[in-house]
Symmetry: C2
Subunit: 217 residues, 2 copies
DNA sequence: TTGACACCGTACCGAACGGTACGGTACAGC
DNA sequence: GCTGTACCGTACCGTTCGGTACGGTGTCAA
């Protein structure tokens, strides 16, 4: 017949990615309240093609989420010998990147959609976002933490615990507020400030040797 | 005519609260995908009455959210002289209570609904939840922090910063995961563990005098 | 008893939307 | 040139749902 989107690895054609991009735009603009007709209109394609390619509305949403999730990049982890400065820099880079992604329009829209669908209707969107959001972040962060412990820079028993603390210090209530529509999105400088403080506090909690007492403010 | 729900202080009749309770149940069960007809059926009332009392669907949702928000209780803050133990206990009580509320079925359902509506459609649900959630929590916590500072137990310049750290350490990614449908809801003992650790770490970061070095794990 | 009132249950209406079918067009390979 | 194919645009269908209207019932006050 014709290629439905393969469930796992989906090399979308360029025309298909145009459609997905249109969907993403509509998500940002209208949340979950866009119709298949509006997608077709926006992408200048026919509804029939939409259904042929993606099966149904849920398939289209799922494809869009997967496609977007595959696009988010992460800062590289330091390869060379791990000094305290390099370690802190790596954590800081993660934190900044993460906060930027989290407060971005597309991430907010995507998370809203996934959360709404997690509540009503049995689609997998929630699981997918969860898998590509916090879980993936934990997965990428784990080697950094372990390297830091191996280098004697930090101490912890379970990586999971350290990750929980780091996540909390970095994100705090930022994401929740954004999702609920708090209009005051943080600026770049603010994000950098939060990230720096979070890393500082994390090292204060889990670091080993020369903890430079961060002045509270 | 008849009493629409007054926008601010709304003393609902007992029959009306029965309706709101039914709505809350439906929210937990079906998210946003319940119809006005299903509400009427569940509450054994007529749709006409629903519209007479609450105006439209959005009014019903708003009334439900307000009504539920007014119900959440907070632990009392210690009145007497503030020892370090009493301070830590107060923070711990807040943390435990907060985590319990946040991971509860109704809170998850309500936040999902508010987030979905914050994304699409201009209803006030997001703002209401935001106002009665994190903001209210910050408001209630502020006197505790200030009292702690006045008693010389903690040090910080801006309450906002201390609150951000406390929030992050307590909640971390718990709420996000619950909203996205992570099935593994924390047990009571786990919640108490998180709360205790969070308070401990918070005092480690912002406390002044005898910081008992919490062994990391 | 009678009327006003609040409410329930059901039927009804119009709009929106998911999904399908169909005619028309451009382009591939032969 | 011919045929198949992939696609666009539009019309169409069935259902669902928000919102309204209406008849019937219980209650309370005069």
């Amino acid at each position: 017949m014709d290629q439905k989107v393969s469930p796992d690895k989906a090399p979308f054609s360029s025309r298909q990615t145009e459609v997905l991009s249109a969907v993403l735009d509509l998500m940002v603009e209208e949340g979950d309240r866009f119709s298949m007709a509006s997608v077709a209109r926006r992408a200048s394609c026919s509804k029939e093609t939409l259904y042929k390619w993606f099966g149904d509305r849920d398939g289209l949403l799922t494809a869009t989420v997967r496609w977007q999730a595959a696009k988010v990049a992460m800062p590289p982890l330091p390869e060379a010998k791990l000094t305290r400065a390099a370690f802190a820099a790596a954590l800081g880079a993660f934190a900044v990147n993460w906060l930027k992604v989290l407060t971005g329009d597309v991430s907010v829209a995507l998370n809203r959609l996934a959360i709404a669908h997690a509540g009503s209707g049995g689609s997998d969107l929630g699981r997918i976002v969860l898998e590509n959001g916090p879980f993936e972040m934990a997965r990428r962060l784990e080697p950094v933490f372990v390297a830091g412990r191996d280098a004697g820079l930090v101490e912890f028993d379970k990586v999971e615990t350290a990750f929980r603390s780091f996540f909390g210090l970095v994100v705090a209530d930022t994401q929740t507020r954004a999702l609920l529509g708090d209009t005051s999105r943080p600026k770049q400088t603010e994000i950098r400030g939060w990230a720096a403080r979070a890393v500082d506090q994390f090292l204060q909690l889990y670091g080993t040797a020369p903890r430079h007492a961060a002045k509270p403010n």
